[in-house]
Symmetry: none
Subunit: 198 residues, 4 copies
DNA sequence: TATGAATGAGCCTTCATTCAT
DNA sequence: GATGAATGAAGGCTCATTCAT
């Protein structure tokens, strides 16, 4: 057998990524040392550098995973059935739920992006822009067909809404009074009311 | 006059604070070295530590200044004249404008707060909470008198809106297509539409 | 053989400890910089911190080594054969000889203990107390059986004698007129005369 | 009146010296900052440097005061009346009492001497040697006249005894079970028994 | 006499990364 | 695949001392 015999060894990169995510969310990228990550994952530095080119790479992987996930979900919803209002509401609620379900990633996203190397930052931003673009298109669609207010600036609406989403990590606490679904419903409502032609 | 002849020497702490603000906004707290700050301010490390107890103190000063300013303005607007809708709109637009006018502080605020020492973080959060509380009271007032939707959760509305405000630093660029006033107007409109009883 | 070819590289922690001992004795703990230690040992700071947690740790290691050595020797002599006077004389002479043979450690011991962190200081003191206690028991034994003067305060005798021992580092010079054995004989005689029932 | 009007200002150098002594004894010379001294004395750095040339000077003053005092007392006792045994006993007891009465100075003496600049260290050592010399002369006198043991090495006796005296600071605690007089009596007894022709 | 702002050198420690094994 | 010793650069901070006022 190739190397699958030892399930622990087989999971090394995953374990490293998981612990890194937790630690980056907890104390920030710069405040997390490579030593802490490898200790948490139960391996040594050499192992980390065997799988990842640098500490930066590790952070980039976190981003890549999240972006891939969210892009897929948005694509599915946006191109699904229902009125544009329904689809926008569904997309908004969904991004809130997945942001809360992956709150660590969410925290890292808005706190640590500027700590990536310039090139990686550029790559992440580009991907992010595509995601926003798809969202913006939904707003635009609703505006064109008269469902949403004519005087809207769709790009501003996107920035408005994703500010709220990115900040979930700042205040949302698991086990608090609100479930992810409740926040999602309320945020999606707020968005819809804010854009809809009254 | 005592020693006002040399305007440069007279302003050492202010200069340090100004350069620190700029650098923290630019590259983040952890990525800014004390050495860089003092070089930018044209003094030596000893001078910095003569005026500030630590690098952390410097960051705290930035926060304290911003919080003081925003609290004053909100207080004035909230207790001013006009309907609750007018006052909420005015307060929302105002915080957008001042956030854009002090974009460096805004960036620092949401990116670097978690890099403060736990005690200082607590102090800042407490002050921030008072600010949010005042804002929440406005939403609550409108809801009670039927101007705003009955099913609103005022605290969630506050988190929703300030997420957007704090994220201005992420995308707003001076000299871009939108003036501060335009963004302020649009954001305030979005907020009002989102809460108002249709 | 694994990597024994390079005898120099094999002994990094030992070399660090040896150079640190020499330097601490020479100029005191606070006056010795980590930089000086690593330069003397021919490595870099990173190497030192790879093996020792802190400069403090290094000092603690010196103490631990000395304390271990002396406790072993005292235990062996005290529980050996001979009258109590013979055993006390032998123990006294032995501690003088080993103190002179490790004069650097002796100097460090009485000069730098108070520069250890409080917890480490406590640990060293506790160990030291056990050592003194064993010595005190010898004096007590002689007093009870009438060999030593009845009005003695054994604990004061111990403090009296070890003051003299610890101060060897202040005046004894290798290559001077007195051998370690001569000083040991004379000190042990002085002690015995001072306690013996005339 | 010259400057005696303000009693507080008049005592500045004395207050500085007193606080410095206390602090040096407490935490050692190197661990005490000039800032701490001036704060304890309620003045500013400029004042300290007005009266003392350097931090080193301050330490030197402490030594000078102690040495002067002890030399005077020994001179008086040694050249007084009584047998040589009586005078040695009296001198030994006296140095113990004054060492305990000025325990801070005693601690500083044995811990911090090597932190003086080389020249000042030399000066202090020379003065100290004169003191020891006077004491040694007493032992020598007793040995010559047959009161003390013929095989004694008087210089070694002096080092033996003053080791004990210098170490008082390590273990003696005010308010403990032993008065200064009790320790003095016991130490002087031990010394006398150790040297006397049985 | 006395202030206190400012210097400049130095200190201990941390850390991402490399490399021989 | 993986180890862990070692590097080298940088980081935040302290401190005795000076000097214009």
């Amino acid at each position: 057998m190739a190397h699958g015999g030892n399930t622990k060894a087989a999971a090394v990169p995953q374990r490293l990524l998981a612990e890194a995510t937790r630690l980056f969310a907890d104390r920030g990228f710069d405040r997390t040392s490579v030593q802490e990550i490898v200790e948490a994952a139960g391996v040594t530095k050499g192992a980390l550098y065997h799988y990842f080119g640098s500490k930066d790479d590790l952070l980039h992987e976190v981003y890549a995973r999240v972006l891939r996930l969210q892009t897929e979900r948005l694509e599915e919803i946006a191109s699904g059935t229902g009125t544009v209002a329904e689809r926008l509401h569904r997309a908004a609620a969904d991004v809130v739920v997945t942001s809360i379900e992956n709150l660590d990633d969410t925290k890292i996203f808005f706190r640590s992006m500027h700590q990536l190397s310039p090139e990686k930052q550029k790559a992440v931003r580009a991907e992010r822009r595509r995601y926003h673009e798809r969202f913006r298109a939904l707003v635009e669609e609703g505006r064109r067909q008269g469902t949403f207010r004519a005087e809207l600036r769709p790009d501003l609406v996107v920035d408005f809404f994703f500010g709220s989403v990115h900040h979930l990590g700042t205040w949302y606490r698991e086990g608090g009074p609100l479930s992810a679904a409740q926040v999602a419903e309320e945020f999606a409502d707020l968005l819809l009311y804010s854009v809809r032609q009254p």
